[in-house]
Symmetry: D2
Subunit: 312 residues, 4 copies
């Protein structure tokens, strides 16, 4: 039986091998390091083709197949690739990170060892202002002058917290308890292993402008520095079909269709009926969904008919 079988060698990606172990800096003292990997674009194709078996007579091009899989959300072949990273991340960022349950994790233990004595510091120009519309976002920056005050205050707090931590240890207090008042900005480290399908899901959410700046910085580094080198065809398809795709709901499509047909009156009527806008005589009040939709209309090159009479 062994006759018919091809000889196999492990998948290797020279572009990745050359950066194995290299720390890509993120934030002031964080990093992402590639430790190991399994598979590449070719492994996705290989796994997909077992599904197609001998039936596939005409050889599809790898790129076309990967794009097909991504387009149709055939996600299982992307699980055939695996990435293992070594991370240094502030604990408050890690709190978001760890919510992705599909990864394998070994985190530095501050029960077993002394905490890493480094905290995420904020430079005077890095303090962000609360967003006005988006309750869970930030926009714009605090003036640097005021920022200086907060940065100095932050340094003092870090110093104090660390001092108290060390005083506790010196007194013999257990590490597991001494650590309890470390700032959330304290760095932690971890090995983090995840398959490509779940990694792309992580990246889609965390590279998004709505993600918090800190985790977004890590996500872009992982995407641009590692995934792009590792599985270039998948990365391209990911950007095209997932990350930069435009999704129209049934309601949005209905309105857009009217606008495409040039029937602005119908578009406005539909927007009212679907609750996107409410007409208050002279000005139009748009809900959150409507404001999000307007951005999509803009991407399609469509004019927003209700905007001319919108309140400022």
């Amino acid at each position: 039986m062994e006759k018919g079988f091809e000889v196999i060698t492990r998948t290797t990606v020279p572009e990745l091998d050359s950066i194995l172990g290299k720390p890509f800096q993120v934030l002031d003292d964080g990093f992402v390091r590639l430790i190991d990997y399994l598979g590449t674009d070719a492994s996705i194709v290989q796994a997909a083709r077992v599904s197609y078996g001998k039936g596939t007579k005409k050889v599809r091009e790898d790129r076309e197949l990967i794009r097909y899989l991504m387009r149709h959300r055939h996600t299982s072949p992307f699980e055939m690739c695996e990435l293992k990273l070594h991370l240094r991340v502030p604990m408050d960022t890690w709190r978001q990170w760890i919510r992705h349950r599909t990864a394998s994790v070994n985190e530095y233990s501050t029960r077993y060892s002394e905490a890493i004595n480094v905290h995420r510091k904020t430079a005077a120009h890095e303090w962000r202002l609360q967003a006005a519309q988006n309750r869970q976002g930030s926009e714009g920056w605090l003036d640097e002058k005021t920022g200086e005050h907060f940065s100095q205050q932050e340094l003092d707090l870090h110093k104090l917290a660390l001092q108290i931590y060390e005083e506790r240890l010196t007194a013999g207090i257990a590490r597991e308890q001494a650590r309890k008042d470390l700032p959330l900005a304290t760095y932690t480290e971890a090995y983090w292993k995840i398959d490509l399908h779940n990694l792309l899901h992580f990246l889609k959410l965390r590279m998004h402008p709505a993600a918090q700046l800190e985790i977004r910085s890590y996500a872009w580094i992982i995407g641009q520095e590692i995934v792009k080198r590792w599985c270039p065809l998948t990365w391209e398809a990911f950007l095209d079909y997932l990350f930069e795709a435009l999704v129209l709901s049934r309601s949005e499509l209905e309105i857009a269709k009217a606008l495409i047909a040039g029937d602005n009156e119908k578009g406005i009527r539909l927007a009212q009926k679907l609750g996107f806008i409410s007409d208050n005589t002279t000005t139009v009040k748009r809900n959150l969904e409507c404001r999000e939709f307007e951005e999509k209309l803009h991407r399609m090159g469509l004019k927003i008919p209700w905007l001319k009479k919108t309140s400022p």
Copy 2:
């Protein structure tokens, strides 16, 4: 501390309680029965609001919040609801079903007990033809006359397979081995428990026209008869934002934008550049992605400029 806390009673959905245990027939001898459930639309809202905590001053309407969560793929609140079904499904359909790994399953054991002696039968008018374009689909029907032959042949095969199975058992052969040649069409039963988020993912894939008819029949029953009664706001949002949404890739958006702007020449040029069409002098050859895209253009009310010179 107990002062500030509200008294709680379990979430109950009277519309569901009235169908508990009722078998909804699927195929010739399959069924879906609702056994139990946890939560409802209100539980999703409750879970989402813990994230928003005391900060939420203005009370958002439940419907609007659920639509917001669905639109932005905030999936975790939907995990707070759980459904438990009793199913009877042919084994070849079950082979597809079980690929959804996020459910809890207890299946009828043919190691422990004798196999269910019922097989999925195909009526003379139910034989489907292999799709021409889609290698993994069917389209149209075999003529009923020929169908009669295959239906009779099928009955005979079922009878023979069952007879052999029983002969083996009578001879004392272990059930775990005797079952080995039962037809894939043999029915099996299972308890299947899944949370609402993962159920919606299941339904999105399995209610889709590209899903095989058999599993599609089950999916629609679960959706229309159970989920719609259970979480009506979520069901509505699911249809609007997930199931009937229109997704445009970056490339498709580029072409669509040109067509919306009325620049058909640019649309065609882009379609060529992006590999959607290739011009062979008089006729246009479209790839699979292009044919899928044309359906989207149709939904947007856009004309397909390259179609006038397409080969039949």
Copy 3:
């Protein structure tokens, strides 16, 4: 087909219904509240029996069946029950909790809302000392006099951290960033939903003496106050077969067998050969595995033959 089917009502556990919403206090300001549940002991039996189908002629008692399932690690029927809790937990405890990836979680968002302004405080007599042998544990207590100093210092730190947090907010700094230096002892809240199988796994690890005191306190409350009321037969079987079971490795069994047979010399020889002890002329050096094994021997009522010449 509907004829043969039994009418169903939802599983209800009156003992649980009477404590729905009741906060069980844990630590100084934490709590566990039962919000909802699905199933009970009877649901486990029901799910297990579908596997046994019609083949089961003799009705096994529920208790015996549940014990059988637990003993043989037939875990899937226990997944048929689901628990939903509302928790208030210090963030450094939550960091351990969230490592259990099989639960559904909605956590209070300090991006969206202001942080809960309560921190886990340590009373003067609650400071624990680092364990000597176990690098990741604690044993014994700091004297209360010194404890007073640390408790006051802690209060001051909490106050300062909160003050800085609020100063940042007042200056308009985004909540997502202002929170970065809150102490790990800050309380958070979450809805946490998990099936019984995975909950028992959580309890097995977190009720264990080696678990940190804080999370252990939560685990015991969940076990004793909720699971015991919810699924009493399962709880009993869990304690008997999982939590209080004695596990002997192949090596340990070999040594134990010699000791049971009264052949102490052979026991010692095996312990040496297997690396448990190394004889240094007059005293015996035991490795960590050996010390753990001695506790097992003690539970079996076996004397430890090498102890007579052990170093103090």
Copy 4:
């Protein structure tokens, strides 16, 4: 920052590289082929040590650390290794295999391609008899003479089923429907990727004598031919602490303790009280748990005091 970092090369296991792609035959026409892998024993140690961080002053030996992790069920470091296999398995075995939900799977699609036209055949001496005690097991063999009849009958059925399948295809019936009556013994193929922790769980259950012979054959091949070469220290620890461990429940421990102390009367009294045995004047009736316990007593070298008066 990059200064302090070590240069990294990928983990490689020469013993595995030399068998990459080699099909290990299982059953009459099945196989297991190693396609790729990530990590090895050293990766487990590396991941565990991040938890211990700089705090680990004394360098523990790798072997001892791996044994410690296995003994204490610290499972996460074992997730850092990953195995990818190519399998050919009869569908009725695959039905059991696929119940392990923690793997990534791409299976050969009989919607897309024609089914593999090979079925698991049973030789005349391979027909197993239903076990008397164990409802879900087999024991002993059918006489070869009778076996010949069943083997011939099986061949005829396979031939007929295949013929009908092909007749359907020839008539244009869709592959997704034509396959519906293939025997469960039809072979399928898949890529199967799983981390080492979950693989060991799979092996623990499927290498067990209670597992069905067919899947057991695959499990042992994977264990002995692949895992043992891949992570020899882990394999050794797995056998010692998991696979060949002896687990005593609280009740069993109580009885065993009495027997170890030589108090047979107390042992019998406890066994009665705990429901293991019921005394019917002259003979003793033992329940299933008791019979399982007796095997454990045997492994410990303890006599069974109630056996002298047991019914045959």
